[in-house]
Amino acid sequence: MKSGILAAAAAAVVFGAVTGAQAGPTLDAVKGRGFVQCGVNAGLPGFGNPDSSGNWTGLDVDYCRAVAVALFNDPNKVKFTPLSAQQRFPAIQSGEVDLLSRNTTVTLTRDTSVGLNFAPVTYYDGQGFMVNKKLGVKSAKELNGATVCVQAGTTTELNLADYFRSNNMSYNPVVIESNDEVNAAYFAGRCDVLTTDASGLAGTRAGVAPVPDDHIILPEIISKEPLAPAVRHGDDQWFDVVKWTVYATIQAEEMGITSKNVDEFVNSKNPEIQRILGTSPGMGKALGLDEKWAYNVIKTMGNYGEIFERNVGLKTPLKLERGLNALWTNGGLQYAMPIR
């Protein structure tokens, strides 16, 4: 096996995939550089998508900006790198990006052998199916023999195979690398079914479908897809910064702090609020950040609820319900660890 490793390593030399990456403290590197390098989706409305004037928007994008605000108090100190599903892991492994915020599902393999650490989940999702209404299909159980369009290199590809196997059904996969081409193939009629995370289907139906009403998303959700930002293994300090930035937005919503009213809370007598907003110092120092880090994040980016509603909520084309992504106090799964 050793020779195998050597051969592979030799390939890496030629490919330049892993060499030349810095393994040291990412936080210092980012501070020194003055901006966060963030890997995002190349084009998924609501999560990572450039708008008509070239600004990156979306829920994943906003978490990149939130980390930049925590560090530099400036949401624009981010360099966005659009990554395909296939490019994302080499990009984070090699140090091309500091933070991967690209609707990536947390899995055991990725946590271990891919060498990632996952921050808290920013969107609880599940894989679904979309079909043309003309087919008259009402349930995913009726899809035996269907042709399914799926993007290459995703957990979606595995769940799809698992689902059809466990239900004793057969299918024909059409696996394409770019999301745009997958969608084009589906809307052209090459496939009967388009499958990806339910949020992605909603985004595609709202933003890409020629006639959104022609397509229905089937009721079955066949997998758990907790989507979370990820950093490299082995740099705990940087991991902490990303993790607590996400928690701060959730905690803010729990306490009713928004980007609009955050200044009213600065004089609050509540010790927990004082800790978060940096009125009583300690939390920022512990993270190696300014004491106002969370205040800045909330003031600039808003709390979790605001970020959600702004990018994917009911008033956006995606029209997603909070569902599992409601706060735990409202019956959802979003729960911030205590900031103390």
């Binding site: 390593a9 990456a21 290459a152 996969p173």
Partner: protein
């Protein structure tokens, strides 16, 4: 790497060996050892560094993952494949798919390229201009765009599967591809294959015998007709002897799709046509230059000897033209094979597409890329060795 094997007639210095760097032989050896040493040192540093970084980030290494269950589906494969099979087998499916499109592509591109190349030299103005236009347009458009064009052509211009065109009974054409009936499985197909193998061996012996006889007696033997007869006749006899089965596996619409028969998928069609059209333009130029390289006087000389035009082409012009054609042709074959990796963009499951999926599921990018590179290296060397062998064989023997 040039090595100093040339025997210099210089006598060695009397009284032993001198190690002066001014001695050209010593200097040559010294610099070569130096270069090899630097290459090894840099290589060792990079490999060591890579392994070090990998283990620091607890990224798995090694090829053990190849035995794990792949658990993803593949659209088309030459061998049986199921998501419960291993990553290793999935990769093999990809390699075979690449070979399939490359081999068929090389054959078709050669035929099309030769036709266009000859057409460009045609004395017919229209044909020559059409061929030139084809070459100039196709050569200058990136192959990826051409693939998208062919893929879009199928998905946009073909009817949906429920309104499939049915030009001949049993044949269906739709966005899902071309479905064609095939003869149902029968033991006679195996027997026919065996008969064909025997015919091939027979042809080889027949050729030897015919050549020997012609050298001995001067009598030519109609080897072409005889060979063709053998190659078609023997399997045909086996087919009739096996009861001449006519049962067909006809595709029919069942549920979402056609079931049965064989299918030419839009992905395969697009990658094949794209590669053939693109590479044929280059091959056409290679063929044209090869033909132009043979002096017209050669043909005139052959005619003067009373050799008919078929033999002139086969025995005089082609051996000289091929000498010019074959080396650049080899590089076109290699290009076609390597360009087949663009298949990823339109969903044809070639080896790159499958290796990419694998390395994404396992996170073992280095191993995955090493496997892709290794496979292409083997395929390229294979093509290269074969073409070099062929080049030697057809090269003009100078006496």
């Amino acid at each position: 790497m040039a090595s100093e094997t040339r025997d210099t007639a210089r006598p060695s210095a009397p009284g032993g060996v001198s190690f002066s760097l001014s001695d050209p032989t010593v200097r040559a050896v010294f610099y070569q050892v130096l270069v090899v040493g630097i290459v090894i040192a840099v290589g060792w540093f990079l490999i060591h560094n890579t392994l070090d970084n990998l283990s620091k980030r607890s990224i798995a290494t090694g090829f053990g993952f190849l035995e794990r269950e792949a658990s993803f589906g593949i659209g088309e494969s030459l061998i049986d494949y199921h998501p419960r099979d291993s990553y290793g087998r999935a990769f093999l499916v990809g390699v075979l798919n690449t070979l399939k499109v490359s081999i068929i592509g090389v054959v078709l591109a050669t035929v099309l390229g030769t036709l266009i190349g000859v057409a460009r030299l045609s004395s017919n103005w229209l044909i020559a201009k059409l061929a030139s236009t084809y070459v100039e347009i196709v050569r200058n458009i990136p192959p990826l765009l051409q693939l998208f064009f062919w893929y879009a052509l199928v998905s946009e211009s073909m009817p949906p599967v429920r309104q499939a065109l049915n030009p001949i009974p049993g044949v269906f054409l739709s966005q899902r591809g071309l479905f064609v009936p095939v003869p149902s499985a029968d033991p006679v197909w195996g027997t026919m294959g065996f008969a064909l193998a025997i015919a091939v061996i027979g042809v080889i012996f027949l050729r030897r015998w015919a050549k020997a006889r012609q050298e001995r007696t001067g009598q030519p033997f109609p080897i072409g007709t005889a060979s063709l007869g053998l190659l078609i006749g023997l399997p045909l006899i086996a087919y009739i002897a096996g009861g001449a089965p006519t049962a067909l596996d006809v595709p029919k619409l069942q549920g979402f799709n056609f079931v049965g028969g064989v299918v030419l998928t839009p992905e395969f069609f697009a990658i094949l046509v794209g590669l053939v059209v693109y590479t044929a333009a280059f091959i056409a130029e290679v063929v044209r230059s090869g033909i132009l390289a043979v002096n017209w006087g050669q043909t005139e000389a052959a005619r003067a000897l009373g050799i008919d035009s078929g033999k002139t082409l086969r025995l005089v012009v082609l051996p000289q033209a091929l000498r010019v054609i074959v080396p650049p042709l080899t590089s076109q074959y290699l290009n076609l094979t390597k360009n087949s990796s663009l298949a990823l963009a339109i969903g044809y499951p070639d080896l790159v597409s499958i290796a990419n999926t694998t390395l994404n599921q396992t996170g073992q990018a280095i191993e995955g890329v090493a496997m892709i590179m290794g496979t292409y290296l083997v395929i390229s060397l294979g093509i290269s060795i074969f073409m070099n062998w062929y080049n030697k064989r057809i090269a003009l023997v100078e006496r």
